[in-house]
Amino acid sequence: MERRAYYKNGGLPWLLIAPQLILVLVFFYWPTTQALYWAFTLEQPWGGGNTWVGFANFLGIFRDGQYWAMVGRSAFYAIATTAISMVIALTLAAFVDRSLKGTKLFQSVFVWPYAIAAPAAGVAFRFIFSPDAGLVGAINQIWPGLWNPAINGAHALAMVIVCHAWLGIGYNFIFFLAALQMIPRSLSEAGAMDGARPFRRMMDLQLPLITPTVFFLIIMNLISSFTDSFGLIDVMTEGGPIGSTEVMVYNIYVDGFKGLDYSGAAAQSIVLMLLVIALTFVQFKWVEKRVHYN
């Protein structure tokens, strides 16, 4: 839709947009370009600036078997958190959508995880899953040594995934409920008249109608699992035991700020950026075109 009533005031619009543009240029475009520059250069050990090394930094990380193990772990982490969180949120939203008496209360509580800082939830879950305190540790009293995320990598990863999935419930719930409530009442009523029971209506009517939201959330959740995991992992496991919970963002932090390998960290950042851009692109181009039910 083109707007007819425009203002024409030479410099004023530029003045209005300037602060935002400057911030974006300084804190977004410059750093992103800088990351590219670092990824293709190597800092000289005795000073004297960076030299161009082409794809050497990338080859360096790609040849490292541990890097691929970590990418695989990140992908598993992202898919697992996305799946768990979305299934729970969708189930809750489907029942809330029936708007029975008292649902408003449930509805507002289900949103709460959205408000919680990842590290704060991390602390709570670390206590809940602690091998010698809290809740889950109780099984160690019956069966000593069964559960120990401090030394067992799989346990640690599971613990972090559960916490990340829990954090996502609020956000996913909001979107699912909104999508379900957009479906015209008459459609569900027609389905019911034709004898479709609630579960059947969910699978054959509501779910297909909210596929755009489902796809949108899959992408958003994947991106957030790839990028937002730092606080959680730093508080819960610090990447341990023996690197079994190290994922991409955490590794960038470790290599860049602990190892001071800016070029390696920048190359890893570029890989992560490309991944996120690819996901966003899928969201914009493919999903928006493929799924349309208007």
């Binding site: 209005l16 809290g134 809740l135 700020f257």
Partner: protein
């Protein structure tokens, strides 16, 4: 409700109550453990009933993690980001939607693209820019030969430097530099009917007057939504504050202090203090979300879709 089905109603309630447990258990355990004494919290499995030591635990956590000044810092950062974002986003969206100039769409896309890459994936170079925020301008002066020009004319070498490490500006600005709010405002401004602009033009008001007297009052809901989202997300920041503040004592935020509250490997397992601390750290954004739910839910959905 579409049909009467007492059985399915029962299933619905059962599922929702189960969901309630799932969502509330972490909160409840944080609260319960935070209210216990050391021997009580060490018991496995932990009792599900609160005990009476909440306030002394909060006091201990407050002192141990120096939460007083950190709360103030968190509050400054969160309100700074919120106010900055609301203001800048409104101004830039106003410029993009209501003015006719050539680079309008280019500007919009320049801002919009920033939604794609979260701060976390460009953290290393963003950190280096924070060490000198004027670096891009220096670079510009250097490449355009202006530095050289000034140096030959006056003998002074221009060296622009603005270090943001350990400052509120450094904590706030990079978080303001995203498209979230701009997009939300733009969506809303697009729904304003042209007649409104024409009417106010006819009444003789200029663009700024129109912005202040017509647009801003209309976008109150929008602002509340954006404020909630921004407050929560900036209060909960962890990685960025961790990097930009080497001087934790003066510029640390509460969320950064969580790690300091976790019992050491071989120290006293006083999780009760940890949990009491976690409880007060997670409380402010939770309150904001609980109180503002109606507005922020709408904003969240229209922002991201």
């Amino acid at each position: 409700m579409i049909e009467r089905s007492p059985f399915f109603d029962f299933v619905s309630y059962a599922a929702m109550i189960l969901g309630l447990f799932l969502v509330l258990v972490p909160f409840w355990i944080t609260f319960v453990a935070g209210s216990m004494s050391l021997p009580e919290v060490a018991r496995v499995p932990i009792s599900m009933l609160p005990s009476g030591h909440l306030f002394e635990n909060i006091q201990t956590a407050w002192v141990r993690a120096d939460l007083g000044p950190k709360m103030v810092n968190s509050l400054i950062v969160a309100s700074g980001v919120t106010i900055g974002k609301i203001t800048l986003a409104a101004l830039s969206a106003f410029s993009i939607v209501f003015f006719n100039y050539r680079a309008r769409m280019l500007c919009f896309w320049l801002i919009f693209i920033t939604l794609m890459l979260p701060l976390e994936v460009r953290i290393v170079p963003t950190y280096s820019i924070a060490a000198n925020a004027l670096l891009p301008f220096q670079f510009l002066l250097d490449t355009l030969g202006i530095t050289w020009l000034i140096e030959t004319v006056s003998g002074i070498r221009v060296g622009l430097e603005w270090n943001l490490l350990n400052s509120y500006t450094g904590l706030i600005l990079p978080l303001v530099a995203t498209a979230t709010g701009t997009f939300l405002y733009r969506q809303f401004f697009m729904t304003i009917p042209d007649e409104l602009v024409e009417a106010s033009k006819m009444d003789g008001s200029g663009p700024l007057r129109f912005f202040w007297d017509v647009l801003l009052p209309l976008s109150r809901t929008n602002m509340l939504a954006l404020a909630t989202i921004m407050f929560v997300s900036s209060w909960n920041q962890y990685l960025w504050p961790l990097l930009i503040t080497t001087d934790r004592t003066n510029y640390g935020t509460v969320v950064m202090q969580l790690k300091a509250l976790i019992p050491a490997q071989n120290g006293t397992p006083d999780w009760n203090v940890t949990m009491a601390g976690a409880l007060i750290i997670m409380l402010p954004p939770l309150l904001v979300v609980a109180l503002m739910q109606r507005w922020f839910v709408r904003g969240l959905i229209s922002r991201d879709k």
